[in-house]
């Protein structure tokens, strides 16, 4: 299992792995928002939590179609499916690798981008906490979507269409935590729901992803 994780991380940082693309995308989205809505700091600081969450979500989405497609094309998935490692574990590891290379950097960079959007003081902590609790769910759900569309020639757009509705609860609770945190309100309820979604998705979705992957491999 560790071997697979290490390989995926190594592939991500080598040339052509696409590491950092998500971050760059996140940065650009955040920079473009003030151009679109105007430079008033009051407006920016009120929409900052939502914009940062949406940017993080889109950055996550952007990298999903490479998550399994490359392994599918070069036959690695066939070989992994015949390996002693259960496919459920393999997809969990791949989701974890996706989170480490995409979700985690987003969590770390978000506060810096918060400055650009005048995020209010107490908001930084809650932004980081909510992204840390929510991005694992984004990776796991995204892996399911990637497993569904892995056999398709142009699956990228379909992948977005399938995954975005599944992202709704995570986005709502995640952005709610960040928003309430920025306003200095109580954040426990949405945070618990967010963590619950992440934990539930992590516990159950790998089975669906592996089942779907087996169907696609046959």
């Amino acid at each position: 299992m560790i071997a697979l994780l290490l390989r995926d991380l190594r592939l991500a940082v080598r040339a052509g792995g696409g590491f950092g693309l998500g971050l760059a995308f996140f940065l650009i989205v955040t920079v473009l928002v003030p151009f679109a809505v105007g430079p008033q700091s009051a407006l920016l600081s009120s929409i900052a939590p939502g914009v940062l969450w949406l940017g993080a979500l889109l950055a996550c989405l952007l990298s999903l179609d490479r998550l399994l497609a490359l392994d599918w094309e070069d036959g690695s998935l066939d070989l992994l499916a015949t390996a002693p490692l259960p496919l459920e574990a393999a997809v969990t590891i791949k989701a974890l690798a996706h989170w480490i290379t995409t979700g985690l950097p987003l969590v770390l960079v978000a506060p810096v981008l918060g400055v650009l959007l005048n995020l209010p003081g107490p908001g930084y902590l809650w932004l980081v906490v909510s992204l840390a609790a929510g991005t694992p769910a984004l990776s796991v759900i995204g892996t399911f979507g990637a497993a569904l569309t892995v056999g398709l020639k142009r699956g990228g757009l379909l992948l977005s269409l399938l995954v975005l509705p599944l992202y709704v609860p995570t986005l709502i609770f995640g952005a709610e935590v960040a928003r309430r945190g920025a306003l200095g309100m109580e954040t426990l309820t949405p945070l618990l729901m967010l963590a619950g979604i992440s934990a539930g998705a992590l516990a159950l979705l790998p089975f669906a992803s592996a089942a779907v992957l087996r169907v696609n491999l046959r």
């Binding site: 071997a3 290490l6 190594r10 392994d71 066939d78």
Partner: protein
């Protein structure tokens, strides 16, 4: 993890005695049966060459035996967790070096060192090169070297000699011979003569008739 190790030990103990048995197998591609009523036994230490025209269903048969797709009917025994499968796609990552590629598969399969595999396919001098910079034949050799690091007793190979030159084909034949001598077995779909002492199974007579198979779910006869 401890459990895994136990199973592996039990497996290697059984390696010498378990045959790969295929009985009355019917397989389908895209829902249409291609081969039917196929039976054979592959004993340890033996190789079996599959022959038949293109499109007859050799690849489908090998994928079914490797457990990648379910058979329509019939039984496969002795295949569970004992197969190393290799097909047209080698699962080689171009940005990783030869050694990194091999070591990854060795660790996934929990098997030993990669040095013998490198030597058997004359990859030692290439070991630090990125796999993406290898020629087609060299990549193919790397893909076949992977078989050695899996430690699995049954090799299921789909056209393993594509893009290999005569020297590399000889290397491959030697590797198969060594594998058989060790007590392994091999099921190979190929069109060229490998110079192995192996049984030959021509699958052409097992071509599925167009009438719906008797074993198929009678409910769905309208679809067959």
């Amino acid at each position: 993890m401890a459990e895994c190790a136990f199973f592996r030990a039990a497996q290697s103990g059984m390696r010498v005695v378990m045959d790969l048995t295929v009985s009355d197998l019917t397989i389908a591609r895209g829902g249409v049966p291609v081969l039917a009523g196929l039976s054979f036994v592959l004993e340890p230490g033996h190789a079996l060459i599959l022959r038949g025209p293109n499109g007859i269903g050799k690849t489908t048969l090998l994928r079914t035996i490797a457990g990648l797709q379910p058979p329509v009917s019939g039984q496969i025994t002795g295949a569970q967790d004992r197969i190393a499968y290799a097909a047209h796609a080698d699962g080689i990552k171009p940005t990783l070096s030869v050694v990194e590629n091999l070591r990854f598969w060795a660790r996934v399969f929990g098997a030993g060192g990669i040095q013998p595999a490198l030597e058997a396919f004359d990859l030692t001098t290439l070991s630090e090169r990125a796999a993406g910079s290898l020629s087609a034949g060299q990549k193919r050799r790397l893909g076949l070297a992977r078989l050695l690091v899996t430690g699995r007793p049954i090799w299921v190979l789909d056209e393993p000699t594509v893009s290999l030159d005569t020297r590399a084909v000889a290397m491959f034949a030697d590797a198969v011979r060594a594998h058989l001598a060790w007590g392994g077995s091999a099921l190979i779909a190929t069109h060229i003569d490998l110079g192995l002492e192996a049984g030959v199974l021509d699958v052409t007579p097992f071509k599925a008739s167009l009438a719906p198979a008797a074993g198929a779910n009678a409910f769905d006869e309208a679809f067959l």
